[in-house]
Amino acid sequence: MECKITKNNELNVENLKKKIKKRIMIDKSAKLVFLLSALFALLVLGILIYRIFTQSIGWLDIQFLTSKLSIFPEKAGIFGAIVGSFLLMVIVAPVTIILGVSTAIYLEEYSSKGRLQTLIKTNISNLAGVPSVIFGLLGLTVFGRLLNLGSSILAGGLTMSLLVLPIVVVASQEAIRAVPGFLRDASYAMGASKWTTISRVVLPVALPGILTGSILALSRAIGETAPLVVLGIPTLILKIPQNIMDDFTALPIQIYYWTLDTVLTAEYANLAAATIVVLLLMLFTLNSIAIIIRNKFQRRY
């Protein structure tokens, strides 16, 4: 800040005080503005949750959770969608965890620093940025048409697995990297081989981190809509899916179709809101489990 110095080499104190006052005032008002903008997120979250809960009141009951779909709002339920989402996770969970953890083990424990490792790493970080709708096109073409799986749970599950794979890989990599070197050294000193060290020492220690990442990946997969819509999940499925080759509907799909059809029947908005509440509760539970695992079982060295 330039301070005006008067002719006889003295600071103009009055002027200076005024300037400092102004600067402090600007600082304080800026702080207030920044705080408000940080609180904006909180405000929106509050309105969103309040709106959706109030819209779902009176619609979310046992009948809604246990009934099949129906074109009549009073009779409609989301049992099929819940079963569909659950079966989808039955595929996504093992596929992503096995593939993701294996990839992470390869990158952290086996690969030597070189072009291939860089290639795989850049590839994974770029895959994480590919829009989900593009994964839908991949699933539609490869799983849906080429492998002739149609819009079955298997096709949806595999598509979703590829989509959330980078999340599991990155989380597992971090967890494995956090395992201190002396544990490995101790294992090798006991004469253990590399695989024994990884399976008996590294993985057990890294497990909480891996689980946290995997649960977060699952919660992303449960809420993801676009890839399933692109796969061509039919609008109205009245049958409850029995196995992974059946056509299915899932919670987000149901929300999507009911939201689109509010133009026809206003009550569909309430059904969509009630389904959103169920979905959000599921996500909340999953995230809580992840946080508990992270806080309780993660050891720091």
Partner: protein
């Protein structure tokens, strides 16, 4: 009985090595290749069918503003979709960048540890909400709200999904920018404080310039997210294929076009079906370039301390 310990160990080691120690690396390597195969798969599916589209439709038609894929005389101008995508993304950025950056400044430079610990999980919560929920929120709450303020706003428009998309992206901008600001060493801040700077002056004149590469990278990633976002725009911006800059009117983005077309009854093998892949390819290239640009910026212009 052979009592030679060394021999026994060697024998055991050999047995172990034969079994899992040789097999596991191969399995892990194969798993790691899946991610590369996925990328190749994406590129191949998109390019393969997009080529059929580009062969069937002359270039002059593709770069026109006429889009009517299901008409008797179908037209495949992509400009309305690109325009729609840019329009909604711009609106989203106008919300996400100012709010996200100022929140980051607050969390990193002004907030006490206590407030920070309370606000950050809320940001994470906001980031974890599925986009379909935001779509429902945009259509059933934000649009009616805006209609009360802006007369002439259509039930499906570009403004409402743009704003909600911006809200969705705020946590991304905030957390990445805050990370960048946090990695600015305290010595720089203390130097500025020692010269009598206020917090704001430290933030604006010292911390932000030092963290600028990470901040810009977060903006670029945010744009990439906005371009690729699907459900919010599909639900709340409708499917009008007009070329318009009017944000009160219905528009269609590239992502929404893909969703509309696949959930409709477009038979495979038609030009309309292949147009999906052409749009998908352009979308893929757009977002990939953005992501690479973000990585490049944060690597190239990072200030090392």
């Amino acid at each position: 009985m052979n009592n030679n310990v060394r021999e026994i160990i060697l024998k055991n080691n050999k047995k172990q090595k034969k079994s899992l120690d040789n097999v596991m690396p191969v399995i892990f390597f194969t798993a790691a290749l899946i991610s590369i195969i996925t990328t190749i798969g994406i590129v191949l599916t998109l390019v393969f069918d997009a080529l059929k589209f580009f062969r069937a439709v002359p270039f002059a038609d593709i770069f026109s503003t006429q889009l009517a894929p299901l008409a008797a005389n179908p037209r495949f101008g992509i400009l309305p979709l690109i325009n729609g995508t840019i329009l909604t993304s711009l609106i989203a950025m106008m919300v996400a960048i100012p709010v996200g950056l100022t929140s980051a400044i607050y969390l990193s430079e002004f907030a006490t540890e206590k407030i920070r610990k309370r606000l950050k999980p809320i940001m994470e919560l906001l980031a974890g909400i599925p986009t379909i929920v935001y779509g429902f929120f945009a259509y059933s709450f934000v649009t009616p709200l805006l209609m009360a303020v802006i007369p002439g706003l259509e039930a499906k428009n570009a403004l409402s999904p743009g704003i909600v998309m911006g809200i969705m992206i705020i946590p991304l901008v905030t957390s990445l920018s805050e990370d960048a600001m946090n990695s600015v060493p305290n010595a720089l801040r203390e130097g500025a404080y020692a010269l009598g700077s206020t917090r704001l002056e430290v933030a604006v004149k010292v911390v932000i310039p030092a963290a600028i590469s990470g901040i810009i990278a977060s903006f670029v990633l945010a744009i990439s997210r906005a371009i690729g976002e699907t459900m919010i725009v599909t639900i709340a911006s409708g499917s009008s294929k007009n070329f318009t800059f009017d944000i009160t009117k219905s528009i269609q983005t590239m992502t929404a076009y893909i969703v509309e077309f696949t959930s409709g009854d477009a038979g495979s093998g038609t030009v309309g079906y292949y147009s999906l892949y052409a749009v998908g390819l352009i979308l893929f290239v757009f977002t990939l370039l953005m992501n690479l640009l973000a990585q490049y910026i944060s690597r190239k212009y990072r200030e090392e301390y």
